[in-house]
């Protein structure tokens, strides 16, 4: 099953459960509290996911390692390499 199909399946299941509870489709006569809670759920989930995404990406950008030492080391090694290669006969 492709990821797209997995998503569609998952979303369908969630929406079906939501509709069953919110609109009392099976006529289970659930207490009003359940229906009131279930009704805005899809919107809550979307907003929560949105907030989670922003927070996660924000955190990851803020903690993205800056490899300053790696850059310095590379500069040093480039000099070393050029000198050694010249000795070995490379014409640059």
């Amino acid at each position: 099953m492709t990821k797209l199909l997995q998503w569609l399946l998952g979303v369908s299941l969630v929406l079906t459960a939501w509709a069953l509870v919110s609109f009392d489709l099976l006529e289970l006569s659930l207490p009003p509290a359940y229906r009131e809670m279930a009704w805005p759920m899809p919107l809550y989930l979307l907003v929560s996911f949105g907030c989670y995404s922003l927070a996660t990406v924000g955190y990851r950008v803020a903690t993205f390692n800056d490899c300053v030492d790696a850059a310095k080391e590379l500069q040093v090694q480039i000099k070393e390499a050029k000198a050694d290669l010249r000795k070995k006969g490379l014409k640059m």
């Binding site: 995404s53 993205f64 800056d66 490899c67 300053v68 790696a70 480039i78 390499a81 006969g89 490379l90």
Partner: protein
Amino acid sequence: AAAREDKYSVLLPTYNERENLPLIVWLLVKYFNESGYNYEIIIIDDGSPDGTLEVAEQLQKIYGSNKILLRPREKKLGLGTAYIHGMKHASGNFVIIMDADLSHHPKFIPEFIEKQKEGDYDLVSGTRYRGNGGVYGWDLRRKLISRGANFLSQVLLRPGASDLTGSFRLYKKHVLESLVERCVSKGYVFQMEMIVRARQLNYTVGEVPISFVDRVYGESKLGGNEIVSFVKGLLTLFATT
């Protein structure tokens, strides 16, 4: 296979890398000699107009034609075909792919090799996003795009690897061969597709944090076109794998 029989073929696709090629080769030779692993470097030059091939020939004279192999091509063709072309005459049982512009540092190769042996991984991926992996030379905009794109890819593809667009990896040769044949995407998405298909085929993926030193970014900004084609490619993978 016993450790002594392992040989690592490094594939270096090049285009206009006249300046960097000698340096990356020097670093590769240094770290392979220090670690004692058996290796060869295969340079796949796509008809570079700046004379990269001529520099490669000089390097071959210096280091020997059993260590430096040249597999040039007439013009700039895709990365996937470069790998296929390079692997045709590779005598290693492992293949390392990396960039030739010094953004990937050969010092991590012994770490890749050790990681691979640790879990007999089918492929080991260098990651900029975990552990003490990271980048140098990226501004806030670039970091934001990178993390944002990676987050989107993780949500949509759930690939089990932290760095999907990275191109510094170690593969078992037969694994790379089977994956390259199946992958149809271009650019960044190609490397993503490789990992996604690897997971599909139940190959095991190990990770090693790496530092990515970007000296090119100033010249080639990540523009709207590339972002659009990335999203298109991602959605295609999402719908087809």
